[in-house]
């Protein structure tokens, strides 16, 4: 059975008016249902925890108790020098905590992707080769291409895209070798995976589900029934994300 490492899952977050979260235990139980071995996990839903330090600590605690099943994807933010912890401290913290990637949310967390603000964050992340998770609704494809061009050794994971963007995704993936695409949520265009594997290579796609919001079985079926060879499925299923995480310079 092809191993799976979910690049796009979450737990523990709260929405206003909902004080009972989908816990790390719920997430692991759902992963077990489908034989998903590992998850790169972030706080989902994301709206209620506004203190990033507190949110990240919640995530680290849950991941530490998961016997290695859950790898944290904490939030980092550019500070503009206005309030600590500053960028280098944040990055030291996430490396210390064993993060497998970091998640950026510029507009949500009050910062700009322009070079004169974000370089202080993205530059050190590139130095350490820390993968950066970019969800389409928070960092669009144009922004991803801009970051990828400025920081060609910074691994980027683009996720939560949809079935209407293949003609823009394909040239971005071909032009920027540091961009990786999660097949989760509703990246479900017919022939999309096969075209990406054929034109870009299987090394740049990542298995992702969208848990807990999305049925994991959709992404699983999409990968398992793809018209690509078994080795490509293994890379997409887990190997590519393992390679990215293994490449972090801690």
């Amino acid at each position: 059975m092809i191993p799976l490492f979910d690049a796009q899952c979450g737990c523990l977050g709260l929405d206003p008016g909902k004080s009972v979260p989908f816990t790390e235990h719920d997430l692991v139980a759902e992963m077990d249902r489908f034989r998903i071995q590992h998850g790169l996990v972030r706080l989902t839903p994301e709206s209620a925890y506004l203190d990033l330090h507190y949110a990240n600590e919640l995530l680290y605690t849950a991941c530490r108790a998961s016997a290695g099943r859950l790898i944290p994807c904490p939030i980092v933010a550019a500070t503009g020098g206005a309030q600590p912890p500053y960028e280098t401290t944040q990055i030291a913290d996430v490396l210390q905590a064993g993060a497998g990637a970091v998640w950026i949310r510029p507009a949500t967390d009050g910062w700009l992707l322009v070079d004169w603000m974000s370089d202080a964050l993205l530059g050190p992340l590139q130095e350490h080769r820390v993968p950066v998770l970019c969800l389409e609704r928070l960092v669009n494809l144009t922004d991803v291409a801009g970051i990828a061009g400025r920081f060609p050794r910074l691994p980027l994971i683009f996720a939560e895209t949809n079935y209407r963007w293949q003609q823009a995704l394909l040239p971005v993936m071909r032009r920027f070798e540091n961009v990786h695409l999660s097949i989760g949520s509703n990246y479900c265009v017919r022939g999309g995976i096969e075209q990406m594997v054929g034109r870009v290579g299987p090394e740049r796609l990542l298995f992702g589900t969208g848990l807990p919001d999305i049925e994991a079985a959709s992404a699983i079926c999409q990968l398992m029934y793809a018209e690509i060879d078994e080795q490509a499925k293994r890379w997409i299923g887990a190997g590519n994300l393992e390679r990215l995480i293994g490449g972090i310079l801690r």
Partner: protein, 265 residues
Amino acid sequence: MNELMKQARLGEPLSGLDVIDMHGHLGRINFAIPDDDPVGVVRTLDRLGVQSIACSSMYCMTPSMAAVRAGNDFILGAMRACPGRILGYISLCPDSAAAVQKETERGLELGFMGIKLHNSNGYEYDTPAYAPAYELAHRHHLPVLLHTWGDRPVMQQIGRMARRYPAALFLLAHTGGGDMMANIELIRECSNVYGDLTYSRSPRGLVRRLVDEVGADRIVWGSDMIFFNIAHQLGKVVGADLSSEDRAKILGGNARRILDQRVAG
């Protein structure tokens, strides 16, 4: 993990089940779909263990009977190239009742199995010019697949038609999108209305909730292929928390019953 999910997890075709996709499309649209070949569609059906897919043309959204008719001809070509595997819905544009009647009768004579209406063409589902199509669907017990998005005024239009033509079978596409209670209430109210599961997002727990709300007998599976990857859409049912009996009804049992109800004439 249920037996079907085990097969899916291994990428094996689903076996021991009559799987029918009641919502497909063929043709071109204004964004890239890498694989749009009807023969490729059948190759994919084989890969997953799906018996048939019922397709309408992408032009079903176009407010032009000439374009819609060209789209129907395209579907006819696919039906003839892949008999029994690609089934056809007749698409319509309500230019006039006479034009709707003529195109519906033409489609039925050519072997189409149902009617697809899409309100992106700007016409409401109770537009009087559609009446001959509904009348034929009623007379022949045909499925009528309608694009919906949990919209209450649209449900009111469909409800009026479902009550007026009780032997026609109305399939509400994308049940679960938008205000799903609007769809659920109409399905409960009219015994000839069914929910169709096509939805790009596949929210976790949605299929189970719909079964709890309306019963597994009133839900049909569709993929929206070639827009969507059919395996992605299959996963939401294969992986859902359902009994094997309910899963079988949704994946094909209900569709087979609907198709078998058709009356020649």
